[in-house]
Structures are given as structure tokens and as C-alpha cells.
Point group: C2
Chain length 216, copies 2
Amino acid sequence: KQQFVIIGLGVFGETIATELTRMGHDVLGIDTDEVKVDRLAERITHAVIGDVTDESVLDELNVGDYDVGVVAIGRNIEAAILATMQLRDRGVKKVWAKALTNQHHRILKRLGATRVIGPEFEMGAHVAQELHYPMVNNYIGLGEEEFIVELIVSDNLDGCQMDALIEKADAEVELVLLKQGKTTSTNPSSDVTLHKGNQVVLVGQLDELRKFADHL
Amino acid sequence: KQQFVIIGLGVFGETIATELTRMGHDVLGIDTDEVKVDRLAERITHAVIGDVTDESVLDELNVGDYDVGVVAIGRNIEAAILATMQLRDRGVKKVWAKALTNQHHRILKRLGATRVIGPEFEMGAHVAQELHYPMVNNYIGLGEEEFIVELIVSDNLDGCQMDALIEKADAEVELVLLKQGKTTSTNPSSDVTLHKGNQVVLVGQLDELRKFADHL
Ligand SMILES: Nc1ncnc2c1ncn2[C@@H]1O[C@H](COP(=O)(O)OP(=O)(O)OP(=O)(O)O)[C@@H](O)[C@H]1O
Ligand SMILES: Nc1ncnc2c1ncn2[C@@H]1O[C@H](COP(=O)(O)OP(=O)(O)OP(=O)(O)O)[C@@H](O)[C@H]1O
């Protein structure tokens, strides 16, 4: 069980605050907006009206005692900057911050944010990939351009064999998991026949995965 | 190559528009904000100043000819609603829309959005999971409460054997991929010794994965 302070209770901050509370942690939420604070009063440990650009606010709340701080203010970069600095100055070890743009990202990192997240940017990139490769349902980056990708088999691939598809694309990708209906096989043989709606999980280098996807 | 119309060029819309253009598609971007439109003029196929609550704007741009429409307006729900309806009325087959809240999500779905995305909500849920389970780096939901999860081995698990950890937790989870340094093995033996920083990919039911994570 940890203690979290969430500064900024827009959709992003509120979601983090309520989810962490639901999972059993102590969560303090701070926002200038009374409506948002009231709405959360019953759903998180403590919801407080306060302006973080006022240093006394965070002092009175003893934020230095918290394990983790999350700065969930996007547009008001000055408030996000001040909140990040104040949390770090008071000794909060882990401070995650939301950033709207790449520039804000670099600023917050330099001011001590342990990690910076760009929800609109990251989801935008995700959506673009899904629109470009409609068969891609989800993916995980493993670093060094290597990805795990989940594809949903479309109509036109119904009845195809996996290894035939890999061979035709001449792509270095591997099948690691296959879910057909409710049955998941974690070591599927590559000559398996695919059916519409099946979930195919592959791993490979980005170029090879693209090569594979372009030949579908 | 497809034709996309992106309505709303905030961070989310702009990211989608620029990424799709970079991947070779035709992209029309529309926004009321001249500054945003100018900034994108050189980076997407067409960037146009326009207010989508004015029906003539979309008519003049022949949006009916586009394959896909993305409504990337979050706060102005009325504009998002009108944009969604107008795209569908003009025959755009695939319309994806951003929604800030669950209520907006249901409204946009009912008005014909093919798919609704909540970037702040989805990333908020993601961040909460990562804060609750610090070893979890990423995950993919396969449906029916089944997940693929990527963990990063922490200090205290350095030198542990995978099967010993699974046994100790008495959890029904399977090791599907292991990345140690730059080497990825897609069919790792479960008695493998883990080292700090290794990337471990497991699959299992949510309860079993939690059971495993709680025993780490
Ligand atoms: N100085 C401040 N002190 C405390 N809270 C603040 C301060 N400035 C802004 N906030 C709060 O931070 C929250 C998030 O601000 P932001 O401008 O990013 O809104 P948003 O884009 O609607 O958020 P989200 O994208 O998470 O829905 C708002 O609820 C706002 O009231
Ligand atoms: N009627 C409209 N016609 C065209 N564009 C609009 C209209 N209303 C809002 N927009 C544009 O939609 C974009 C996104 O609006 P929103 O209010 O969601 O801002 P945002 O939260 O800053 O976006 P993001 O979270 O993507 O950064 C803005 O650039 C805004 O100018």
C-alpha cells in the first residue's frame, strides 16, 4: 500500500486517482476546480481544493511524506512546472508528469520528473498505426525496434496458413501466440490454419513486421 | 494509400494527421485555430481553417470522398457531435472519434462513430496499473480477462528462476518470450535464470497474473 498525491484532476488525473484508490492505495487529489474536487470526494481518500502555484498549499498537505507524486496538469505549463519542482524539493522520490508537447516533456524531465507521459501524443501515434495497419489491434515495443504485435485475422485471410503468409512476405517474424475463439495456444505450430477473427501475436523487427503487414 | 480527414488539430489530432501523412496517405486537417493550421501546412497534405459546426465547410471540402474521418475534438462536445454526424451523413464509412468522458463516448457511438477513443482515460488507466505494479512495463488485453504482460526484472529478482517464481505464487501464467540484453528467445525454457533488466513476457488470466505479481 503506497501514498500517492495527484495534482490536477482532469480526466487523466482523475482516472489515475480513482484507479489507485480502487486498488487499495492512499490517494490525495488536488485541484483548483471545486466541482472536480467535490465529484471525487467520495471516490478517493482525500480530495482538496488548492492552487499548487501557492507553495503553502503543498506544505500544509505534507506532500513530502508521499511515495509518489503525479502532476496531471497539461495546459497550464507553469503550474505543471511549479508542481514538479515542489514535489521534488520536498523529497517525493518518484514524480511522474503529464506533458502536452515535446518541449514540455524536455522541460519537466530537466526539472526532475522521474517520468513524463504524453497521453494525447502516445494515443495519437497508436491510432495512426491502427489506421495504417487495420489488422493491428495492439502492440508492445521491446526496444531496439523490436515489437510484439497482435493482429486480428480479417476476412481475406480466412483459411490461410501462417507459415505460407510469412514465406510469401519473406519476413523474419515469429508466431508466439494464437487465440482462436476462446482457446489460446502459447506455442502454436506455424502451419496452423487461420480463421477470421483469430488473434495472432507476432514478434519481430519493425521493418520485418511492416514487410509482413504490407503483404497481407 | 487512403484519404483521411482529421477534424481538430490539438495534440491528438495533429499527431494522427502528421503520422498518417508520413506513412504516405492523403490527409486533410481542419481546425478553427489559424495558428495550428499554419503550423501544419507544410507537414500534412492539406490544412484548412474551418468551423465544422458550419455545414457548408464540410460540403465544400467534399469530405464524403474520404475513406476515414477522425474527430479529434475533446472539450467542445457539440462540435464533436456535429462533426461525427456530418461525416456519417456524407457517407464516410469509418469515423473514429475522441471522447473525453464515458457519457461522450456513449453519445458519439450512438451517433454513428465506428470507434471511440479516450486518450486521457486509457492512458490514465495504464499509468495507474504501472504505478500499482512497478514491474509491469506494458500489456495487451486479449479479451475474456486474458492479458499478455511485459515485466522488467527488478533488482530483488536478479538470479531467480522463472519456474520457481511461478511455483511460489502458485499462479497459472506462462512465459512466452524473454529478452535478455539484445537476445530475444521466443520459446524460453521456464527454468531460465532471470537477471535485472530482463524483459519477461507472460500470458494468463488477470487474476493469475495479479497473483503472480503480488508474490514478487
Ligand atoms: N495551479 C493549479 N493548481 C491545481 N490544479 C490545477 C492548476 N492548474 C490547473 N489545474 C487543474 O489541472 C487539471 C488538468 O488541467 P488541464 O489544463 O490539463 O486540463 P485537461 O486538458 O482538461 O485535463 P485532461 O486532459 O486530463 O482531461 C484541471 O482540472 C485544472 O483545474
Ligand atoms: N467547431 C470546431 N471546428 C473545428 N475545429 C474545432 C472546433 N472546435 C474545436 N476545434 C479544435 O479541436 C482541437 C481540439 O480541441 P480540444 O478542445 O479537444 O483541445 P485539446 O484538449 O487541447 O486537444 P488535445 O487533447 O488533442 O491536445 C482544437 O485545436 C480546437 O481548435
